[in-house]
Symmetry: C2
């Protein structure tokens, strides 16, 4: 028995995974509307094949033998991750897994229709089935009375627990809510009405393609298309795909989506070649992935240093709308704090409060006896409580995100973890590299290379905390995020400390 025996199974695993990724991409961006019913059959079969390949008896035997062999670092890591996948999957009967995969495909279509027609009732049975399946799957894997929610959380963010997150969100609540109040009471008002003028989509597309390339997106190994909800996916490190969504009357929306997704893409494009076609050839966790997209979107993309050279170019493309908007006013505009209902359009400061709401609802569904009819009301109450606003419809309330429809439960916290990790990395790089000069001078090859060397190339070999310790000498610490937000917004809104 040698590692080479595993490679045969690994190739099959990766090929099936690649096919499923492509079907998903195709459904989101290309496939005809009514194709889904029959295509679901294919996806169900391929998912089952993938499941059976990962949990094949011969593989299990092989992996346990390989645990004691003298392997390279990446080989060891493949074995470790595969065993963890098996531990997660083999508790779930193959037919339940296949049924769940098929459910998710249909649920995403139903969700999309329900959101369009503001029809929570239509989506509710799917939502319920998905949560109940996920709860049951988690219960199959439960050991030592570990909270069910923590079991899923660990899939997306290995090492993180509800206990740790509760503390993190409490800190955010204690520091950010007063800051938000202070901003709302301040006399300093930002007018960003210019952002909602008409920006022709053809021109937006050109500028977005330009800016993606400017910050390092590589069109030899990547493409940009459009979809309802922007996302990044990849087949390997030389096929990385991002989408954005253009709105005629909102310049920022597509712009910061593109920068955000380009951050995700940079991670995947930077994965080491010898890891790319293996199960560890991808970002190590959702939180670490999100840290990279947030790093580009917020720390870089909303930074005056970044726009110094770029803003005149943007003005030039949309001269009618931006000619009279000064640099300072534009910087104020993209950093304006304003509680709104839609998470993906939220400003940097209120964003984590949107996450907190979803986190609290997910925990409630998992650990209390919940009536799914009541969820829209619960959602709306929390928006009133934390952000002071109430959705007028479920489309802009509980139906706004695709995540639950796609079975991504306990995924949302990663967004907040990601923002905090991004701030931690930014604080370190600001002190120990020429980061600010790189941003100012558009030397994105340097930033890409630095992140590549210290984070991206490793794929999933190290987890979030291991990477943070390797790079900064310190594990996850939300204080950098709190400090970053406070410093930034006190300055923008001319507040007293």
């Amino acid at each position: 028995m040698s590692y080479q025996d595993l490679v045969k199974y690994m190739n099959k695993r990766q090929a099936l995974n690649g096919a499923l990724t492509l079907f998903e991409w195709d459904q989101e961006t290309t496939a005809p509307h009514k194709s889904i019913d029959k295509t679901t059959t294919y996806i169900g079969v391929l998912s089952k094949e993938l499941f059976e390949t990962i949990t094949d008896e011969n593989v299990i035997k092989l992996l346990h033998e390989l645990e004691n062999e003298d392997l390279t670092l990446s080989q060891k890591s493949v074995v470790k991750h595969w065993l963890k996948d098996i531990e997660r999957l083999e508790q779930i009967p193959a037919d339940e897994y296949q049924a769940h995969s098929e459910l998710l495909i249909k649920a995403q279509h139903v969700w999309s229709e329900a959101k369009l027609t503001n029809n929570y009732q239509a989506f509710e049975p799917y939502l319920k089935q998905i949560f109940e399946n996920e709860k049951r799957f988690a219960s199959y894997r439960q050991v030592d009375h570990k909270p069910l929610y923590d079991i899923l959380l660990d899939d997306y963010e290995p090492g993180f627990t509800t206990k740790e997150l509760d503390a993190f969100f409490e800190q955010l609540r204690n520091e950010i809510v007063p800051l938000l109040k202070a901003i709302q009471q301040s006399n300093y008002k930002i007018d960003k009405s210019y952002n909602y003028k008409e920006y022709p989509i053809v021109k937006q597309k050109l500028f977005n393609k330009y800016i993606a390339q400017y910050i390092g997106f590589d069109y030899n190994c990547g493409i940009i298309k459009e979809s309802e909800h922007p996302f990044t996916t990849n087949l390997h490190n030389c096929d990385v795909r991002i989408t954005t969504h253009y709105y005629k009357n909102n310049l920022e929306s597509a712009l910061f989506s593109t920068i955000h997704e380009s951050g995700h893409a940079t991670y995947e494009l930077n994965i080491a070649n010898d890891l790319s076609l293996t199960p560890i050839g991808t970002g190590t966790s959702m939180g670490m992935h999100e840290s990279q997209s947030r790093f580009y979107e917020n720390m870089i993309g909303k930074n005056p240093l970044f726009w110094k050279n770029l803003y005149p170019k943007l003005q030039n493309v949309f001269l009618n709308n931006l000619e009279d908007i000064s640099f300072d006013r534009f910087m104020d505009g993209i950093n304006k704090v304003e509680p709104i209902l839609i998470r993906t359009e939220a400003d940097e400061l209120t964003y984590p409060l949107h996450i907190m709401i979803r986190y609290e609802i997910e925990k409630k569904i998992f650990h209390e006896d919940i009536d799914y009819d009541e969820l829209p009301r619960l959602w709306n109450e929390k928006y009133q409580e934390y952000l002071g606003i109430t959705p007028k419809s479920d489309s802009e309330g509980i139906l706004q995100d695709i995540h639950w429809a796609s079975g991504s439960i306990a995924y949302f916290p990663s967004y907040a973890i990601g923002s905090a990790v991004a701030a931690q990395i930014y604080a370190y790089m600001k002190e120990h590299t020429h980061l600010e000069s790189w941003i100012e001078n558009g030397q994105f090859n340097m930033i890409k290379a630095y992140l590549g060397e210290h984070i991206h190339q490793y794929g999933a070999i190290y987890n979030t905390n291991e990477l943070l310790i390797k790079l900064t000498g310190e594990a996850f610490n939300p204080k950098y995020y709190i400090t970053y937000l406070k410093d930034k917004y006190i300055k923008i809104y001319h507040l007293k400390r």
Copy 2:
């Protein structure tokens, strides 16, 4: 043992086949340029899985048992076709099959680059390897000294042989070459310079999308995109995809590609639901498929009855270019006979001569000892001999078609067979249905329903000759094609009989 036992394998077969179709589509229309190297790994693995699923020992046993069971017509047909596939595939070792699949993916990229840079040398080793593999694969399957070429021919056009095709092409040569000479010597000259004015691509796209729908393309179950070489593909009967290629200075090119591919698409959209997710849920042969695309492209699309209502609409879209072009002049223009080098742009009359050249070269490679260096010269000589013109570069010569790069050998004859079958069906329908009135009045739902009822719905249950006999009472007979071409062009060019 029952048919239900086969369904499990069939679902896997169809899912893998669907994934491979999607990867191929994606490479042609979407994937980033450099993705191919790593993606080839996935395609190779999935091809091997497909091969092993089709030729699985349990399946073979099952199929032989099912041969004696009391099955429905379509079940019987699945069993019959599957056994034929096994007979074809099990002679080829799985690793050779996988290597060949990977070769074909790379070859298509090399071909694309070689065509762009007029570099036959770069493509030659791939061309040679593909032909040599196909020869070897055919030799594995040879029985009773059947000519190797006939073995491949039978894959694309069951029941047709070199002997039959030689006779068909001889008839074409004897009748069409003199007709072509008479046209070239006639005093009746057609000026279609209007076709090469500037036609904005945005407007072309809109009109092409309109015309596809007009003749029955269903956007609920289909999409139109762009690719270098137009083609049709499908995942099932509710996911049918066509591509076209727009040229700013050629109105006809995209227009007739779209009509042609819509003909292919109509076939696939019309497959019966209970066949759609089975191996026989697709057009019965390449020739029959091509008969449907040619039926729409030529018999309908170049027919004055068709354009009577549509031409004013076309004029209106391109008023600057077409305002002064009369209906009769437009009809003459789209039917103008003019020998050119590019098959896909050839007029209806000279088209089969392009096919004859490829057919003769393929036969030569298969049955004589050929030097691949010599192929471009041979190609050019034949163009001079049959069409009176010589390519100035290999890009417009031997490198023009993707077919050989994609391993489609003995495929070309299907184009000529298709044209002849189309003429045969047209002659029958003209006499026995209201076809001409349907065309004139744009009642394409009637045409779609008629072809659906008599041909399309059956998928691959019946072969070309069986379908022709069922519909017209007569097997393949090229005389209808010859008569059709002679009648049509004698009239257009005002020739004496």
